[in-house]
Subunit: 330 residues, 2 copies
C-alpha cells in the first residue's frame, strides 16, 4: 500500500476541519462530511469538497478519518463499514483508544486508532487551521493483529502530510499515559481551585495567588463539560493511575507531619528530575530503512520506538523499501 | 510617627538587596548589612552604604528590615534588640509569619511581620532589582497589640517607597493562606511529576506531556531544598489546609468511579469559578481619610481591607490626617 490519495474526513469540527484543510492544501483528493448545515456553508465558502451523506463520502476512499464526537464515533463505524471499499483504512481522532478499538471491531484489520494531541479553545470548521498539527504529537494505536502496510501508509500521512510526530503505542498504554499526562492534571488543578473556593480564606488566597497557584489551577478554567467527558471516557485508566499520584502525596504529607527532611528531599528530587526531562528532552535523530518483505521487523521497530518515548518525523518509500526518520530520547 | 528616614537592611540577598537598592534609589538614608565578604564587594561596586556589623547597622535607625534566611532571623532579633534605638520599628521578609512573630517576642510592640511576594530564580545582591516589588503583594502581619503609628509608617514604606500592594492580615491567616496559595501547589506538582517518574509509562508520559501536565508540574522543577524548607516551616498550616484539597480529590475520584456526571460538573464548576476570579479580579478604587486621633478605626480599616482580599496602594499623611488609597474586590 502506497500513500493515501483519496481521503474522507467524517466530522469537520476543529480537528476534522484542520485535517481536511491541510490535506486539501497538500493537493490530496479529500472530501469533508458533516451533518451540520452551517458547516456545509463554511466548507463551500472555503472551497472544500463536502457532503452531508456518509455513504457518499466514503465510497472509493483509501483513508477515512473519523473525527466525529466520541459518542457519535461508535455508531458511525457501522455506517462507514457498510459503504466503504474493501481496501480502505479507517482511523479516528478520539482522546481515548481502548474503547474506540473495541467499537471498531466491525472494521477488523482496517482500523488503526489515532489521537492528534493538538487543539485550541476554539471549535468548528471556521476555526480550523491547516497548520494545527505541525510538530504536534499524533498517537497511532494499531490493534495487535495489524499488518504493516496500512500502518506504514498512516504513519506517512501523519508525518508527511499532517507534518506531525507519529508515536506508535498500543491502546492500553495510550490510555494509561494520557490519564497521567492530561486527565489527572485536571483533577489536581480542580482540587486546588475547588479547595480554595470552599475555604474561608478564599478572598486572601485570591489576593495572594502566587505563580505556583496560577500555574497549578490553569486547567481548572477549562469548560467543566469537557473536563468531565474526558475523565469519564477514560475512567478505568484514571482510577488505575490515581494510585501512584495519591501514594506520592501520602508520602509527602506523612513526611511533613513527621518533619522528615531527607525523605522530602528524595521525593522532590525525583519529581524535579522528571519535570526537567519534560521541558528539555535530549533527542537523537536516526534513520532506519526496511525492505518491503520485512514487515514484522518494521512493525516491531515502530512499536519499540513509541514505547521508549520516540517518534517518527518522516516516512519515505523508495522502490521496494521504506526509510523512516525518527527522534529517540538520547 | 512619620515616614521612615533612616533604614537598615540586615541580610542583602535577592530580597534584602532589592529593598536596599530601591530605598537607596528613593533617596533614603539606608545601610545594608551582610556577613558575606563577596556581598560587601558587590555593595561597594554598586555604591551602596554597607557594613558587616549588625550593631553598627541598626544604631539610630527608625526601620530595620530583617531579610536574613528564616533560620538566622530568630537569633538575629536578639542582636538587633540589643543595639537598636527604642523608637525603631523592625520588620522581616520571611515566607511564614506565626513562627517569626513568636521569635520576635523580645521586640514586643516594635515588630510587624512582613512578606513581600516577589522573587526570581536568581539569588544574591548581584541579582537584586530595585523594581522587584513594583505592584507585587506585600503582606504585613501586625501583632494584635500593635499601635497604629508604626503600622501606618510601614504601610507607607511598602506602598510609596517599595511601590508594592500592602495587605494587612494576621499571622495565622497569612500562614493558612500561603499554605493553599503557594505551598500545597508544590505538593501537587511534585505528586504529578513524581508519580510519572515512578510509572512504567514515564517515557510516553514525557513524550505526550500536554499543556496541562507542563503547567501542573512547573514548580516541581524548583530546587528541592527550597520546596522542602517552605513546607517544613509552614508544617501545621499545610497539614490543616491539606484536608480541603484531599476532600475535593476524594469526591472527584468517587464520582469518577460511580460515573456520576452531575456531581463532577458541580465540582469542576466551583473550581472554574475561583480560577476565573484569580485571573480577572474586578477591583474598585476607594480612598479613606483618618484623623490622627482615630487610631482604632484606622487599624480596624486596614485589617478589614486585608481580610476581604483588598490592598493599600497609597498612604499619604496630610497635616494631622492620613489618606489611604485602596483596591477592594468589587
Amino acid at each position: 500500500m502506497e500513500a493515501f490519495r483519496r481521503i474522507a474526513v467524517i466530522g469537520t469540527g476543529l480537528i476534522g476541519g484542520s485535517i481536511l484543510r491541510r490535506a486539501h492544501d497538500a493537493g490530496i483528493d479529500v472530501i469533508g462530511c458533516d451533518p451540520d448545515p452551517g458547516t456545509a456553508e463554511i466548507a463551500s465558502r472555503l472551497g472544500l469538497p463536502f457532503t452531508a451523506d456518509v455513504g457518499t463520502a466514503v465510497i472509493g476512499r483509501d483513508l477515512i478519518v473519523c473525527a466525529a464526537p466520541l459518542d457519535a464515533i461508535r455508531g458511525g463505524f457501522d455506517a462507514i463499514a457498510a459503504s466503504m471499499d474493501d481496501g480502505g483504512v479507517v482511523t479516528d481522532v478520539g482522546s481515548t483508544k481502548t474503547d474506540v478499538l473495541a467499537a471498531a471491531s466491525s472494521l477488523a484489520g482496517r482500523f488503526i486508532g489515532g489521537h492528534p494531541m493538538a487543539g485550541t479553545e476554539l471549535s468548528g470548521l471556521a476555526a480550523a487551521d491547516p497548520n494545527l498539527f505541525t510538530d504536534a504529537p499524533w498517537v497511532l494505536c494499531p490493534p495487535s493483529t495489524i499488518l504493516i502496510e496500512p500502518l506504514r501508509s498512516l504513519v506517512g500521512f501523519v508525518t508527511d502530510v499532517m507534518r506531525a510526530k507519529a508515536i506508535v503505542i498500543d491502546a492500553e498504554r495510550h490510555d494509561e499515559t494520557v490519564a497521567l499526562s492530561s486527565h489527572i492534571p485536571h483533577v489536581l488543578a480542580g482540587a486546588l481551585a475547588g479547595a480554595a473556593a470552599a475555604s474561608p480564606m478564599a478572598p486572601t488566597v485570591t489576593a495572594l495567588a502566587a505563580g505556583s497557584f496560577r500555574d497549578g489551577t490553569r486547567v481548572a478554567g477549562t469548560n467543566p463539560d469537557r473536563t468531565v467527558d474526558m475523565l469519564l471516557h477514560n475512567r478505568q485508566a484514571v482510577l488505575d493511575q490515581w494510585g501512584g499520584v495519591a501514594g506520592f502525596m501520602d508520602e509527602v504529607l506523612e513526611a511533613v507531619r513527621d518533619n522528615e527532611h531527607e525523605t522530602l528531599i528524595d521525593l522532590f528530587t525525583g519529581a524535579a528530575t522528571l519535570r526537567n526531562a519534560v521541558v528539555a528532552r535530549a533527542m537523537t535523530t536516526r534513520t532506519r530503512t526496511f525492505a518491503s518483505g520485512d514487515g514484522a521487523a518494521e512493525l516491531a521497530y515502530l512499536r519499540e520506538l513509541g514505547a521508549v518515548g520516540g517518534y517518527v518525523t518522516g516516512c519515505v518509500p523508495s522502490g521496494l523499501a521504506t526509510t523512516y526518520t525518527a527522534e529517540t530520547p538520547a
